[in-house]
């Protein structure tokens, strides 16, 4: 192996690491401020002040929380499976970060513009369940295990309808490449796929709530029944990783909603190119995140059988019918792809 080969390899790896850091660092800062936004919005809904002491308007609160978590002791329960107990939060956090590789932030601004971008996102979101189920099992605690079983059943159920919703978008766009899907939604707010697929948009968003274990589907961590669910036994940095992963997944779900239904980087005004696409994309993600928090502030938690009924008996048949309808429309009115 001569030096040019090593140089090439080093440059490839170095360049990749630089690109990854360019995505991960802003993402983690966003995660920190989503926790802040969540506390502020919940506080405003409940007529409170929210965090306002650390820094101006409490803006440094997330960093104070993070420092506190890092400084705490990591407790590993005696009966726990040590390796898996530590691996589970790392896996969950890792999965929530790698999904961002295929998200196009602006025209051409994407780390990996792969042909099967949608499938990649779908595959990774279906892997998230492993982090939770391993955490629950490795903790060797009843509450954790029950929480993780609930979560596994819930995520597997709602993935089915998410898959069908994604198929309707793919049928309209005729491609699994995320950039192509966004380009297909050009031409202002009327070109977005949210209008032809409005019911699917709601199903996708609600399934997204279930997929990220958010209120009103946060049964896996239902504190009134399961203490804290799958993360009952976790403390310190291991808990922080779960927390970061959950919020990164929330942002990812919002980004997917923006890409699939809200036109990604496109401006709602046709022909507008004053404001850069990145800003529009961020604004759409921020709006979806706000709705996530808003739902949490207003909705009571579902009962488990109601959750399953909603997923299997309402969303699944309806989205299946809609897939057939969209496929028929694409074939007969638009000409075959």
């Amino acid at each position: 192996m001569d030096s040019s080969v090593l140089l090439n390899l080093g440059m490839q790896l170095g360049w990749l690491i630089l690109l990854v850091l360019m995505i991960v660092v802003p993402l983690l800062i966003t995660v920190a401020y989503v926790t802040y936004a969540e506390r502020k919005v919940l506080a405003l809904v409940q007529l409170r002040m929210g965090p306002n002491l650390v820094g101006p308007f409490g803006l440094l609160q997330p960093f104070a929380d993070g420092l506190k978590l890092i400084a705490k002791e990591t407790i590993i329960p005696t009966g726990a499976n040590r390796a898996l107990f530590v691996a589970a939060p790392i896996l969950l956090f890792f999965l929530s970060l790698v999904s961002w590789a295929v998200i196009p932030f602006d025209v051409g601004l994407v780390l990996a513009d792969i042909n099967v971008g949608v499938l990649y996102l779908f595959a990774l979101s279906s892997l998230g369940v492993y982090g939770i189920i391993i955490a629950g099992w490795a903790s060797n605690s009843k509450y954790s295990f029950l929480g993780s079983l609930r979560s596994a059943a819930q995520m597997v159920s709602y993935e089915v309808s998410i898959g069908l919703v994604i198929i309707t978008v793919l049928l309209l766009a005729g491609s699994m490449n995320l950039s192509t899907i966004i380009i297909g939604q050009a031409g202002g707010i009327t070109g977005w796929y949210i209008w032809p697929l409005l019911p699917m948009f709601f199903i996708f968003f609600i399934s997204g709530l279930a997929e990220t274990n958010r209120c009103p589907f946060d049964l896996p961590e239902g504190e009134s029944e399961l203490v804290g669910g799958f993360n009952t036994e976790y403390s310190s940095m291991t808990f922080a990783l779960f927390f970061l992963g959950e919020y990164a997944n929330m942002i990812l779900m919002s980004a997917m909603t923006a890409v699939l239904f809200l036109g990604g980087w496109h401006s709602p005004i046709p022909g507008d190119d004053v404001i850069p696409g990145l800003v529009w994309f961020a604004a759409k993600i921020a709006f979806c995140l706000f709705v996530f928090i808003w739902v949490r502030a207003t909705m009571p938690r579902f009962r488990y059988d109601q959750l399953m009924r909603l997923g299997w008996k309402i969303f699944l048949p309806f989205s299946l019918l809609y897939v057939v309808g969209v496929a028929a429309y694409v074939t007969f009115f638009r000409g075959a792809l």
Binding site: D2, N115, L127, I133, F145, R309
Partner: protein
């Protein structure tokens, strides 16, 4: 930024894809061995998942991204989750499992030898693509993505087998439900339609009660 990466990939003497192949292949083999030797059945399933993953990675290196993603979605995302679910719920006696190992060894060896023989026979008669032995990349037949190519073949040439396979799966699914479904009696279930169709007039009666008289 894409172009710089592409330039590095095209540069003479790039070793990253080759390196990736060896990393994935070694981890795949290691995981495969650990599936059958791991003491704890949960660890076995997790190693199986790792093996699926690395196989998907190998498909990616071959340029078969659609198959790779399907492998992850179907096997890792659905089949293995249920597998893990069941194995975690089972109350397994590890000592009992150890004893079964020696008894089942001849049968396992026989199956292994047959599989290996088939694999070797298959490999001998394999016809390699142009340049495959020199370690060149896959030959790209057309500009269409391989999702499109698979779709074209599946829904034209293999339409009937594809539909029949779907029907067989449907029958198996219904069969599994019929076999395991027990009509539980004495279970109170929620009747959502009945609840929603209840009207105040049907179930409420307002009495005005005068003081000291009762209803």
């Amino acid at each position: 930024m894409e172009t710089f990466l592409a330039y590095l990939n095209e540069a003479p003497g790039t070793v990253l894809p080759g390196l990736m192949f060896y990393v994935l292949a070694i981890v795949l083999l290691y995981a495969g061995v650990m599936v059958i030797t791991a003491r704890n059945p949960v660890h076995s399933v997790l190693f199986l998942i790792l093996a699926f993953f690395n196989a998907a990675g190998l498909f990616l290196l071959l340029g078969a991204e659609f198959i790779a993603m399907l492998l992850v979605i179907v096997y890792v995302g659905a089949v293995a989750v249920l597998f893990l679910f069941v194995v975690m719920m089972l109350d397994i006696d590890f000592e009992q499992l150890r004893k079964g190992f020696v008894r089942n060894l001849p049968l396992g060896l026989l199956a292994g030898v047959v599989l290996a023989a088939q694999g070797i026979m298959f490999a001998i008669s394999w016809s390699f693509a142009e340049g495959a032995k020199e370690g060149k990349g896959p030959t790209v037949l057309s500009s269409a993505t391989n999702t499109e190519q698979i779709g074209q073949v599946l829904y034209t040439h293999y339409m009937l087998p594809f539909q029949v396979a779907g029907l067989v799966l449907l029958v198996a699914m219904i069969g599994a439900i019929v076999l395991t479904h027990r009509g539980n009696t004495g279970v109170k279930r929620q009747k959502v339609a009945a609840q929603n169709s209840r009207r105040p007039a049907d179930v409420l009666k307002l009495n005005s009660v005068n003081p000291g008289e009762g209803v």
